[in-house]
């Protein structure tokens, strides 16, 4: 088991013929992901190293039976690409595009909610998702992810930041701890998939025995996660929140990472998670070590 994606997931890449789409699409395929097609309007009939290209998502789904889409197109085109995937019946859409206007993100999310409730969007502006040994969609370097074991214990990772996601994967690999699924939800103001969505899936996944969560300043997603953990998550957790020293009013790289009006501080988020029984590391390594202790206790 794993969450959201596994060895059966069939993926198409929207923007496969572009620089990013080609690079990461081929890497994902080399990792063992079933990358069954690509979509670029006007380029039907072509192929990218044997992966067939289609004019539309609808055509690609009909021909390949794809269930997931990996969107690697520029910010102007991304909102339409997400909705096109949903309209074609894709159930899981991963959008790595950085720089989509917040107004567009809000409209896309509301449209998905109203018209395509069966479609889950991961991102935008996220590194993607990997279920080690089964499926890798996005820009994560597959080799830094430790394979899960049949007997466990295995850890699920959910994170708002890309490089800190890799850091978490790496810390666990150093400790020889298997990963069930690692989800990067992205650093934008309106993420399609939230911490809570991932925590619910990890809680229900028999192959996940503990969860590590990496948050950052801005918004209230971590506080909402803390409330959910209190009420619904029984699996042990550790967490790290980036941005303790971030000054108010400055966006720290991510569009969503900003402390404003005294809200969204790292301290507030850590306090909320600690109250929910989550072990808090003051840096990524410490969160990894805390997870190692948790896993050793489970063994």
């Amino acid at each position: 088991m794993a969450i959201f994606v596994d060895q059966h997931t069939k993926v198409i890449v929207q923007g496969l013929t572009g620089g990013q789409g080609r690079f990461h699409g081929l890497r994902n395929k080399a990792y063992g992901t079933q990358v069954v097609g690509g979509v670029t309007p006007g380029k039907a009939g072509q192929d990218v190293e044997g992966i067939p290209v289609f004019d539309s998502v609808e055509d690609a789904v009909k021909a390949t039976g794809a269930t997931a889409s990996f969107i690697a197109v520029p910010p102007k085109a991304a909102p339409a690409a997400i909705l096109e995937a949903a309209r074609a019946g894709i159930g899981f859409v991963v959008c790595i595009t950085e720089g989509i206007p917040a107004q567009d993100e809000a409209r896309v999310f509301a449209t998905l909610q109203r018209d395509f409730p069966a479609t889950r969007l991961l991102g935008p502006n996220c590194p993607g998702i990997i279920s080690p040994g089964k499926c890798n969609i996005g820009i994560t370097a597959g080799e830094i992810a430790q394979l899960p074991t049949a007997s466990g214990p295995n850890v699920g990772i959910v994170s708002r930041s890309g490089t800190l996601t890799y850091q978490a994967l790496y810390e666990l690999k150093q400790q020889g701890i298997g990963v069930s699924t690692c989800v990067g939800i992205g650093g934008d103001p309106v993420p399609g998939t939230s911490f809570v969505d991932c925590l619910a899936e990890f809680q229900a996944d028999p192959e996940t025995h503990a969860i590590i969560m990496i948050g950052e300043i801005g918004g209230s997603a971590e506080e909402e996660a803390a409330e959910f953990i209190t009420n619904h998550v029984t699996k042990p957790m550790s967490a790290y929140i980036a941005g303790v020293t971030a000054p108010a009013g400055k966006k720290m790289g991510h569009a969503g990472a900003i402390v404003s009006g005294g809200k969204g501080t790292a301290q507030g988020k850590m306090d909320a998670l600690r109250m929910a029984g989550v072990k808090i590391g003051l840096n990524p390594t410490e969160a990894g070590s805390l997870m190692a202790e948790i896993v050793n206790n489970l063994r």
Binding site: P75, Q103, D104, Y170, P189, G243, T245, M252, T285
Partner: protein, 381 residues
């Protein structure tokens, strides 16, 4: 990107939101010219992006040219909470019967637009929220449905806006919502939204924050970028396309990825140091990017040591190391570097760094983030 009041008012005007006629002035003489155009009495308002201007003496009424000279002279160059006033906005003084508050933002938790409306305006909305939370009406708006005039009117009734102002406020809300959505604002706020004795509703102030991700469809925003207040380091970083934020500490920071860069600031702080900046060079970390980053850090006289924190994912350790070695050759650095290189092929990368022939006084390598932070902080003391 935050706009100054006068820019916010000009932005409002594009969406037919009524604002006072006025003009911006950089000198006392310009202020008098603008005042003559706006007709006396006028208000001379300091243009700074910080609250509490009135209390600081940055907003004054003037009834003739001498008074404009006096107030503009005092206000230009004034320091308001660390912001030096470079320009004043001169507008015709409005008669005020009542003051309200209205704003639109994105509520990230609800993933919907949020209207906040109150019949108690002209004061800090946070104070109203603390004293009497029921005085603020909060209404969520689904972005694909938008805001109708009827809904806006009902919200105004709920906020206890008096009967005589209802139509004007509702109309204003619909226009402000259009400015917020079509104008790609993160925040569009009017405080105070005034009712004049003549019955008209009018925006007496404007607080607008724009979503820089939407700049591609707003070529008119370029003029705002020109007045953005960046320090010299931030200006240089912008020219080199780097994600940089200047801070006050002594340890220069370079990291790949926003989260890792934030985390690096935290770890430096934890071991007793202070960061001079936030700098995310993105995933690549090649020689060009690294050179540009080092040049920006090098321009900061306060920097005593430089902490490069790189986690190689797809970019392998040896490529990152080669980039760093090349960059160090190109830039004459004033401060020593401590590197933490981890991730894919980190061992090979560290070997390249060790064998590059760069003296230890200039560059040292540490295997973990914490050890590297300690070393960098020790060098900065």
């Amino acid at each position: 990107m935050d706009l100054f009041e006068y820019q916010g008012k000009q932005y409002f005007a594009k969406y037919n939101i009524p604002v006072s006629a006025g003009g911006v002035a950089h000198t006392v003489d310009e202020a008098v010219v603008e005042a003559e155009k706006a007709l006396y009495p006028v208000v001379v308002k300091a243009q700074v992006q910080v609250g509490g201007r009135g209390k600081a003496g940055g907003i004054k009424l003037a009834t003739n040219a001498d008074e404009v000279r006096l107030h503009a002279g005092n206000i230009l160059g004034m320091d308001i909470k660390g912001h030096v006033v470079k320009r004043v906005w001169i507008e015709h003084a409005s008669d005020i019967a009542e003051e309200y508050y209205a704003s639109f933002t994105l509520d990230r938790a609800a993933k919907q637009h949020l209207l906040m409306l109150s019949a108690q305006g002209g004061v800090e909305i946070e104070d109203v929220a603390a004293k009497d939370p029921t005085a603020i009406v909060k209404l969520h708006i689904n972005p694909i449905n938008g805001l109708s005039l009827a809904t806006a009117r009902q919200a105004s009734v709920d906020a206890k806006i008096p009967e005589k102002a209802l139509d004007g406020v509702a109309d204003m809300l619909v226009k402000l919502y259009e400015c917020f959505t079509k104008g790609d604002c993160d925040l569009a706020e009017i405080n105070p939204l005034i009712l004049k004795p003549t019955g008209e509703v009018h925006a007496l102030d404007a607080k607008v924050s724009l979503d820089s991700n939407a700049a591609f469809r707003h070529p008119e925003w370029e003029e705002y970028a020109a007045t953005e207040e960046l320090d010299a380091r931030e200006q240089l970083a912008r020219e080199k396309n780097l994600q940089y934020i200047g801070l006050d500490g002594t340890v220069g920071i370079i990291a790949n990825g926003a989260g890792l860069a934030m985390s690096t600031l935290d770890v430096v702080n934890q071991v007793g140091g202070s960061a001079a900046n936030f700098l995310d060079i993105g995933g690549g970390a090649n020689a060009e990017l690294m050179t540009a980053a080092l040049e920006v850090i090098n321009s900061d006289a306060k920097v005593k040591s430089i902490f490069i924190n790189i986690f190689g994912g797809i970019t392998r350790g040896e490529e990152v190391a080669k980039g760093i070695v090349e960059a160090v050759k190109r830039v004459t650095l004033r401060a020593p570097i401590v590197i933490r290189l981890d991730g894919t092929n980190a061992e090979e990368g560290r070997k390249i760094l060790a064998e590059a022939g760069i003296p230890d006084s200039q560059l040292t390598s540490r295997p973990t983030m914490l050890e590297a932070a300690r070393a960098a902080v020790a060098l900065a003391k």
